[in-house]
Symmetry: C2
Subunit: 279 residues, 2 copies
Amino acid sequence: MIETYLLEYFIAVIENKSLLKASEVLHISQPSLTRAIQKLEEELSLTLFTRERNRLILNSQGKIIEEYARDLLSLERRLEEKAKELKESENSLRIGLSAPGPLFRYSSILLSNAKYQKVITTIEEEKALIAKVKNGLLDLAFITEDYQDDELLTQHIMDEHLYISLPKTHFLSNAKKGLYFHDVDGQSFLLAKELGVWDKILEEELPNSRLFRQDLDNLDEIVSASSIPSFVTDVTIEDHRSSDRVFLPFLDDKATISFYIIIKKKNSSLLKNLKLNGN
Amino acid sequence: MIETYLLEYFIAVIENKSLLKASEVLHISQPSLTRAIQKLEEELSLTLFTRERNRLILNSQGKIIEEYARDLLSLERRLEEKAKELKESENSLRIGLSAPGPLFRYSSILLSNAKYQKVITTIEEEKALIAKVKNGLLDLAFITEDYQDDELLTQHIMDEHLYISLPKTHFLSNAKKGLYFHDVDGQSFLLAKELGVWDKILEEELPNSRLFRQDLDNLDEIVSASSIPSFVTDVTIEDHRSSDRVFLPFLDDKATISFYIIIKKKNSSLLKNLKLNGN
DNA sequence: ATGCCTTACGTTATACGTAATTATT
DNA sequence: AATAATTACGTATAACGTAAGGCAT
């Protein structure tokens, strides 16, 4: 079994092209490195370097082992990073979302909770969210289905309704009550990336539209600088009141999503602490 | 830096679901394992097991680390296997081929050479073969180009000519001198896998044919049991004389390949030892 | 002589085993 | 009491540093 530190030393020797330099970088003595390289060669029953005039030169076998060693070390680094991430998540409130809406609505409550140093959010498929809440990888999740399970507490928490965002000059901007998806199917839209369940709804209901996805940071700026239709929901609409746009609700049933919060029953006290006031 | 043995122990504990059992499997004492798991947890700053009733139960964080650990250990195992393979190749004659022909022609000479315990062959692209001969990963290679290089000795060694193999009942089987690719393009053929440069030639010259590739072990049997055309070359034709087939040469220029042996100049003595009698 | 790798040797760190301890059923 | 993990302690392995020894420039 090849220990990690031997591979680390091996790569350091390759990168520094000298035992002496590598030993300085590694903060060990040069003889230690000599022995470590010898040990690695012995355990692999291979010669990795040709010893030519006070120099170690990586040979063709060494080059092949180098690739494996680098792969191994990078995997080891990823393991450590993952461990760090998991460690961090211990002091964090880990929230799963099937769409960003609940985060917008409740961000102030969630972020101001003193108990947690950090709020970690992830947007995923509902099945994955349910599994992660159940196995403890998430503290709670917002899904769009009234999912019932012995282990879980499920509670309706909010609805989110989709609006179209149109420049005032748009020919549909003075529709009275609102409009339907099929009225605007075929038009281009600007929208954010990673909208979870909204992604599927929009792709299904607007099959002939082109959906130009933007990073959330840039979206507002690009929208206000263009005359391309966009979307808002009742959750985000207040943030856009000042803009030079008209917001009209979609009248289709599919334009409304109900959110349910799911949480392990034995963690239900957390839910009380958060004081998310659902209906 | 997480050492390999810690991950090995970790996986053993998971698989044996007990420190005691795992320690027996690993041939170490149980307290050693306790400490190793503690050390792993400490180095990752994570709790991997919940200590419930005299039992260790892998928790959700542990399950995630388990995946990384398994990946790492399998990579480590592959490294050791690769090392073994390289070790073996030291006592082997490593031959590269751009098509199998030269191996058939010279197999008796190559395999009977007392100096080497084993002959390792590989079929690859000619560029890769040239590179590997130059960097020492191959002792010699057979390519189809008269490649000239300061480091390499290049020598014409043989030609290989392609024949069609037809059942005697086939409507083309009494063609006199031979036939052309375009005469049979569109017909189906049985042929072996991994024919190197022949693959490209056949796909280019018979673009409308379906090429049914078989494992070499089964090919002869399947061919003799069917009426589907196949291929032979002057190298393999003697082995097929007894079969119930007619062999007709392709008359196209592309149906002949010239092979050149390439070898490092400083290894040219090896070439003499092998006594491959080229023209 | 100088620079760099290797060998020799004594020291220290650490992984190990044995034995005692704790905790759970 | 029995089973299984943990803690305590002494031992042995092996990785380490210092110092001395090659070897080529």
